[in-house]
């Protein structure tokens, strides 16, 4: 290895370390702030460690602190029912993901493995949705949900995305087209019908790409902000993303309880971070895989 190559590698490593630091540092900063005393923080804002370490912000965020305790550490009166918002997010993202991946898999099977009249036409029509940005259907869908009386219900939040996803269908069909015919043909010779083939053979063979889609859909839905913002204005169904934004907006601008806000943020991001710890490797490969497809 000559000198210029060594130099090149050092520069590359330096670059990578800087990029990683910028990527990861905000996560550390959430934690550091969430464990600080909100009053004390203003006296030492550049301390890299929590200032006057306390669990207070988490207590405030979870609604466990008394008003006196909150006031002593610079908390505002703003409250957030994190447990409820967490539950709402789980229901919203969970149900939507289950439905959309399930229905997409059924459709993908029909498009990939069955011969029927009109198949290619129907597939082509459904695929047009791939390039229409969601912005255009959001407002009319809101009006539709309002007409159906589904505002402020899980139904209203979930229905528009539950049945149809052009990307999911396209992605799963691509995979199913590549499956070999042998097992399927053997089953047909044994007298299995198309439904039996679908549920007993093709879907079990497609578990890996379905898991990929489940993960990606769950993350996107969990983080979605615009649609829940349109169709909910009530705490009882409000998911985490929305609850956080409301929490910030309901705090007084002048003396924001940053420590409490960061604690709430951390609790909100925690499920995704757990998902990351468990599925991180799979996720990285999935993203690459969706790109190549």
């Amino acid at each position: 290895m000559n000198l210029s190559m060594k130099l090149g590698r050092s520069v590359a490593w330096g670059y990578l370390i800087v990029v990683l630091l910028i990527t990861v540092f905000p996560f550390y900063w959430i934690l550091r702030t969430a464990l600080s005393n909100n009053f004390a923080m203003s006296t030492d804002p550049s301390s890299l460690l929590p200032v006057d370490f306390t669990w207070g912000p988490f207590k405030r965020a979870l609604g466990l602190a008394t008003p006196a305790e909150a006031a002593a550490e610079g908390g505002s009166g703003a409250k957030i029912d994190l447990a409820l918002a967490l539950w709402n997010s789980i229901v919203y993202a969970g149900l939507l993901t289950l439905c959309t991946v399930g229905f997409s898999a059924l459709a993908a099977y029909a498009f990939a493995r069955l011969q029927w009249k009109g198949r290619d036409v129907v597939f082509g029509v459904l695929l047009t949705a791939l390039m229409v940005p969601s912005v255009f259907t959001l407002l009319p869908n809101f009006v539709l949900m309002k007409d159906l009386g589904l505002l402020n219900t899980f139904g209203g939040m979930i229905l528009p995305g539950a049945f149809f996803s052009a990307f999911n269908i396209f992605f799963l069909r691509q995979f199913m087209l590549g499956l070999s015919n042998e097992v399927e043909e053997a089953a047909i010779i044994d007298g299995a019908g198309p439904l039996r083939v679908c549920f007993r053979i093709v879907l079990p063979m497609s578990v890996a790409p379905m898991a990929t889609l489940t993960l990606l859909t769950f993350i996107t839905t969990w983080n979605d902000y615009f649609w829940p913002l349109l169709v909910t204005n009530d705490e009882s169904v409000r998911p985490l993303t929305l609850a956080l934004a409301v929490f910030k907006q309901s705090s007084p601008q002048a003396s924001l309880d940053w420590a409490g806000l960061m604690a709430a943020t951390l609790v909100a991001a925690l499920p995704m971070l757990l998902l990351f710890v468990v599925f991180g490797r799979r996720l990285v490969n999935s993203i690459g895989f969706t790109g190549i497809k």
Partner: protein, 321 residues
């Protein structure tokens, strides 16, 4: 009107699809057609077709219709013809927000794809493992709301850690969200921070498909690292780069959450992106008809931009192959 919209979007669909294996109807050598397949097939696609019709096609047509009406939610829409279009043309705030959006898109796509490309190449050339790529996608996992909250805090003029550092070096803080000149670049930087890792992983996957033997051949011919990047990596990566650029343009054009949580379009409309303005019209002033007109304009704009990008990408293909 509607048909042209659908035609062009159908056309656009075929673009990215060309990176995938070719249409497979012919490739299929499944069991011979059985008649009872047909009703089972329709049964299986029924939920998807229903969802497409009720929550995609119908709202889309309705959106086009509402664009030409006066509609305030509580009373039925009233057909007003081209009045909204006229209003749109005369609406200085609309054109301003279009400019803001374009500025945001250009900044975040150029910067975002540039940094992602460099990062992907560095990751690839250094042979770094999955763990590092994993850390890079961390921001992809959190919502725009969380992104906006954390950075608003870190960039706070008085107490934010970034401004502490800036004050220490330059003597005075920067009003990242509070000044007209900084607001959009700051939002673009947030967007880059959030999407960089995801893009880098996509591009990295593209790099892995390039056979190592090509680089060996290049090295034997005495090509430098930079020459190999320019004349081997970039051309071979073109399909995936085109896809990444288009995906980023589409998502950046629709940016909303980070803006709504951090600046709300301010100060003095400096960061009023189109989606923010549409939201404000529809849910702040309940002017749904006009909001629909702006959505339609945004949609047509996106279709045109995507289509042009694909055309340009294809036009450039011949000289590299």
């Amino acid at each position: 009107m509607v048909t042209t919209v659908q035609d062009s979007s159908a056309h656009v669909v075929r673009g990215p699809a060309t990176t995938a294996p070719p249409p497979t109807a012919r490739r299929r050598k499944g069991p011979a057609s059985r008649r009872h397949d047909t009703w089972v097939a329709w049964l299986l696609v029924a939920p998807a077709v229903l969802g497409f019709g009720v929550f995609f096609a119908y709202p889309m047509l309705r959106g086009v219709y509402l664009s030409f009406t006066e509609f305030h939610i509580l009373t039925p829409p009233v057909w007003t013809g081209l009045q909204n279009v006229q209003e749109l043309i005369d609406d200085g705030r609309f054109w301003h927000s279009l400019g803001v959006t374009a500025y945001f898109v250009v900044l975040s796509v150029v910067l975002g794809v540039g940094v992602s490309l460099v990062t992907a190449v560095v990751l690839h050339r250094l042979g770094v493992g999955t763990t590092v790529r994993g850390l890079m996608i961390l921001p992809f996992l959190i919502s725009g709301v969380v992104t906006a909250l954390v950075w608003t805090w870190m960039l706070d003029p008085q107490l934010g850690i970034v401004n502490q550092l800036i004050t220490w070096i330059f003597g005075e803080p920067v009003m990242f969200f509070g000044s007209g000149g900084w607001a959009v670049p700051t939002l673009a930087a947030l967007n880059v921070w959030k999407s960089m890792g995801y893009n880098a992983v996509l591009i990295f996957a593209g790099l892995q498909t390039i056979p190592a033997s090509i680089y060996e051949a290049g090295r034997i011919d005495g090509a430098s690292e930079w020459q190999m990047f320019r004349s081997l990596t970039l051309p071979l990566l073109r399909p995936i780069l085109v896809m990444v650029v288009i995906l980023n343009v589409i998502s950046a054009t629709q940016v909303f959450d980070i803006v709504q949580v951090s600046t709300k379009g301010g100060p003095a409309d400096a960061s009023l992106v189109l989606q923010m303005y549409i939201y404000d019209k529809a849910f702040g002033q309940f002017d749904f008809g006009y909001a629909a007109t702006m959505s339609l304009a945004l949609f047509l704009l996106l279709v045109t931009v995507t289509f042009t990008q694909l055309r340009m990408a294809r036009a450039g293909e011949s000289d590299t192959n």
